[in-house]
């Protein structure tokens, strides 16, 4: 090959790189390992982290994934395929994505879905940018965001939109119910607001009065953005029906649909909207069309919104979707169907309810909010949450998430959830160990006193 090129050696091919830019031997990079050696190294590290009984949810949930999901998704034809720009050579991926879009619109009750975003939090950031573009009646760039929305989602949205002069205004939650009461919106009646974000359930697992909140948005010409758990949509009313007319944009974290916990990713964000504003939607969208012979086929469409065509005028800089994760979600949804999803959701909900009832027998332990929840709950503890969780972790139980850093006003409390995978034995063990941890603590009042509300 060198001879064909007409050079003496491979180094000659790098002759255009100036000599003073050539690097040395990269001594701190370790030498090569065989596949077996890497298996041993990474196997050891994976085992080191154990497989504790996980009662943490907070945006990522430990659900059963049918064996077929990943066995099919990791077929080379899906796993190692490129973005389907060459439609005729990508009908497998394209049809699957069209099926996915159809499943997500069915689940959320929305008219259209894109082919996915990075994750739930970044999907919300894009939904906000989209709402600002789409709300032509509003000159404002103010967005109302409940404090009861996942703290990381609020941070990510803020970090992504902050350089575009968009203002995120926090709505307080009701201290007893943990929900965003409609009264929190009163100060904004008649104000120029671009969009209102409505989570369901919210970060605390609490159900929001979605119809009232959406109705407020409609009356005040404020676009509404739903942030929902897709599994919950098998039980809870879909955003497309909220407040009668439904929301304008709906997004959320797709992880409960076939993605393993995997330290936080890869997951996928879903993003749906009314068809009237689809041209403001970021990300890939697949459309059904015909080929030269009049046969049905699928292709990327509305590409004039995207960065590879519009460059600086694109709706977003996004250049990927989470294709493989959408592949798993589509297979997962096909296997479970509406009935299977509802059974899974119900099992999680009932497991969490059982966990909370048993935990509440422990003196000083009680649910923090009195409103209905879905499959997750905030629990007040009579000791410092961090210390309780650390003690539980020593028993290989991850009891929940300490929320004191994000919500100091709520005192010592953990957000906890028992998915359908947690067995009665694991739940009993959690209750037993927490009870012992608290009694060892000697019933000392917690260090963090709730603020007077």
């Amino acid at each position: 090959m060198l001879e064909a090129i007409g050079v003496d050696g491979i180094e000659d091919l790098f002759e255009e790189i100036p000599d003073d830019l050539r690097c040395g031997d990269l001594e701190s990079i370790p030498p090569a390992m065989s596949e077996l050696e890497v298996s041993q190294l990474m196997g050891e590290r994976a085992r080191q982290d154990g497989q504790p009984a996980c009662f943490i949810g907070a945006g990522a949930y430990d659900h059963h994934i049918p064996a077929a999901v990943w066995q099919i998704a990791t077929r080379g034809e899906f796993y190692s395929a490129y973005t389907p720009y060459q439609a005729e050579a990508s009908q497998g991926t394209l049809q699957l994505l069209y099926e996915y879009q159809s499943m997500m619109t069915a689940l959320t009750g929305m008219e259209v879905s894109n082919a996915s975003m990075y994750d739930g939090a970044s999907a919300l950031a894009e939904a906000i940018l989209m709402a600002v573009r789409a709300n032509r009646k509003s000159k404002s760039r103010r967005i109302l965001i409940p404090r009861a929305l996942h703290p990381s989602y609020r941070r990510v949205a803020g970090n992504i939109v902050k350089n575009q002069d968009i203002e995120l205004v926090e709505l307080p939650f009701d201290p007893e119910g943990g929900h965003t009461d409609i009264s929190a919106l009163e100060p904004y009646n008649g104000e120029d607001i671009a969009a209102l974000v409505i989570p369901q359930p919210n970060f605390f697992g609490v159900l929001e009065d979605v119809d009232a909140l959406t109705g407020w948005g409609h009356r005040n010409k404020v676009l509404t953005i739903a942030v929902v758990n897709p599994l919950a949509m098998s039980v809870l009313s879909p955003p497309g029906e909220w407040g009668g007319e439904g929301v304008d944009i709906c997004c959320g974290e797709g992880q409960p649909l076939g993605a393993p916990l995997s330290s936080g990713g890869p997951y996928f964000g879903f993003l749906c909207c009314r068809q009237a504003i689809v041209r403001q939607m970021p990300g890939r969208i697949i459309g059904r069309t015909l080929d030269q012979d009049g046969n049905r086929g699928f292709a990327l469409t509305l590409q004039a919104r995207e960065q590879h065509i519009r460059r600086s005028k694109a709706t977003s800089n996004i250049c990927t979707n989470q294709g493989l994760m959408v592949t798993t979600a589509t297979i997962h949804l096909a296997l479970l169907g509406a009935e299977g999803l509802e059974r899974t959701a119900a099992a999680c909900h009932a497991n969490t309810k059982s966990l909370v009832e048993q935990l509440s027998i422990i003196p000083g332990v009680s649910p923090r909010f009195n409103r209905p929840v879905f499959h997750e709950r905030l629990i007040s503890l009579p000791m410092e949450a961090e210390a309780a969780l650390r003690a539980l972790a020593a028993h290989n139980i991850l009891g929940g998430l300490d929320i004191s850093r994000d919500y100091p006003e709520l005192g010592s409390a953990i957000l906890t959830c028992a998915t359908e995978k947690r067995t009665p034995g694991e739940i009993g063990d959690f209750v037993d160990k927490l009870s012992r941890v608290i009694s060892l603590q000697g019933g000392t009042p917690c260090q963090l006193q709730p603020k007077e509300s």
Partner: protein, 487 residues
């Protein structure tokens, strides 16, 4: 035509074993919150699902089945071992909020990869958290902005972008509130330094460059460009899309770049998965370290701990809810360990060798190189403008005909400044036999263009569908299946 999974649905059919066998009680959820009608999801058996998606997969090209000479996309083999390693039960089951006591093994992998990427790129610190290349670009430009803002240097409103840049570059700059200004390319393929001199100045926040550029050449003027931009107070951004070409040979940090992103799904062989997930770690020079996106991993002795907003208060923050695409990062780590020190420079060597061989053979076959006077890097451009002008067969037709011969088309019509172009990147994982077969297919199609142009214009002929009507797709929007609309 294959039916949609929705079209195979029959009321009441289920894959029974895939969900709890009994429906638990949810009656404590009040009626007002409840869904009234079940979602119209498919009702199918497990076998139907398995057969349907297996058959759909067979309607795809993929690296495992076909050669993908896609310029600027680095479609190299994705090692199966890396997938298995990332999917070890301990990694899959780890909750993103698991305490550090139950995360040391995972964090050790992240820390090791951060260190390896630092050394490979010559940067001073690395954050793995951006979820894809474009999010890495966003993070990079956001750091440039945070740096200027913190110094009160708010008059810098422009990011300079060469005309050959990826579309994500200007789009990312705009998302960070900047205006973009395009810099022309000289006739030799390098950035036009004289043109740069006329626009760089007190309004310049930074410049975004890919080197080697998307024209498939190494920009020899890079040190002069870096000097000019730095002198004017701007910073340099490196788009790592073409890092494969210089791995182990040259480092962006040594070229004067202040911030770079890498595409783990290109240079580090993680799968493209039909469009994602990617992973876009960022590396920075000394002055941008405080702004790196979180979370990152740090080490003290044998203990690993997280760096978050608390430890890094000047950070541009987090860009996804958790730690980015962790599973992709683990695949890249596995790949990097298997490759090792020696393997890194072999990547650049063999990908460059393959590209230059193909270029030479295609030139001998009569194809026109866009930059014949230059040495190709890991990719190169040929232009089909003569065929287009003389035979009315454009690059898209040519590309579609290659599909009939079992080769994925090269990147077409990019970069925008070369007319009727194919951007070809063979990667280092293909053998000479495959390259020769592709070259032969290019010759064959070239012959067809001369003898039977209509055959090429009507391509593809052997795939599951013929040429699709994109105009119809955009005009008569049909974005979701609807049972009612079908009747």
């Amino acid at each position: 035509m294959m039916l949609l999974i929705q079209e195979q649905s029959k009321p009441g059919r289920r894959a029974v074993a895939q969900a709890p066998l009994r429906k638990a009680d949810t009656s404590d959820i009040p009626e007002q919150f409840r869904r009234r009608r079940p979602a119209a999801l498919p009702e199918v058996s497990e076998l139907q699902v398995v057969r349907h998606y297996t058959r759909l997969s067979q309607r795809n090209f993929s690296i495992d089945t076909e050669f993908y000479p896609l310029g600027s996309c680095t479609m190299k083999y994705n090692p199966r071992g890396a997938n298995e390693h990332a999917m070890l039960p301990g990694f899959l089951a780890r909750h993103p909020e698991a305490p550090e006591s139950h995360s040391q093994g995972f964090m050790a992998c992240l820390f090791d990869l951060q260190e390896m990427l630092k050394e490979l790129t010559g940067m001073q610190a690395v954050s793995l958290s951006p979820a894809a290349g474009a999010q890495g670009e966003f993070a990079g430009v956001a750091m440039i902005r945070a740096y200027h803002d913190e110094r009160g240097d708010t008059g810098r409103t422009e990011i300079l972008v060469p005309d050959a840049a990826h579309g994500t570059n200007p789009a990312s700059a705009v998302m960070c509130g900047y205006k973009t200004r395009e810099i022309p390319t000289g006739s030799n393929g390098d950035v036009d330094v004289e043109a740069l001199k006329t626009v760089v100045g007190p309004h310049t926040a930074g410049i975004m460059l890919t080197n080697p550029s998307t024209l498939g050449v190494f920009d020899r003027g890079i040190l002069e460009i870096a000097g000019l931009v730095h002198e004017a107070g701007g910073l340099l951004y490196y788009d790592g899309a073409n890092l494969n070409a210089i791995l182990g040979k040259a480092r962006p940090g040594d070229m004067g770049f202040d911030v770079i992103h890498m595409n783990l799904h290109k240079t580090f062989s993680t799968p493209h998965g039909g469009g994602g997930p990617g992973s876009g770690p960022v590396g920075v020079s000394e002055r941008l370290i405080p702004y790196l996106p979180v979370p990152m991993v740090t080490r003290d002795g044998d203990d690993y701990s997280w760096l978050t907003e608390t430890e890094c208060p000047r950070s541009i923050g987090r860009l996804s809810a958790f730690a980015g695409n962790a599973g992709v990062i683990l695949r890249a780590y596995s790949y990097a360990r298997m490759l090792g020190r020696e393997g890194m420079s072999r990547v650049a060597e063999y990908s460059t060798l393959n590209a230059n061989y193909m270029l030479k053979m295609l030139q001998e076959a009569g194809f026109e190189a866009a930059y014949p006077q230059r040495r190709a890097t890991h990719e190169f451009i040929i232009t089909l403008r003569t065929q287009a002008r003389e035979r009315g067969v454009n690059t898209m037709d040519f590309a579609k005909r290659l599909l009939d011969y079992g080769f994925h088309a090269p990147t077409t019509y990019f970069p925008l400044l070369v007319p009727e172009c194919l951007l070809i990147e063979p990667t280092e994982t293909e053998d000479k036999g495959t390259l020769d077969a592709f070259i032969q297919a290019m010759r064959t199609v070239q012959g067809e263009v001369a003898e039977d142009p209509e055959l090429v214009k009507g391509a593809p002929h052997t795939l599951p569908v013929k040429r699709l009507d994109d105009v119809r797709a955009a005009r008569e929007l049909d974005l979701a299946w609807n049972a009612l609309a079908e009747d």
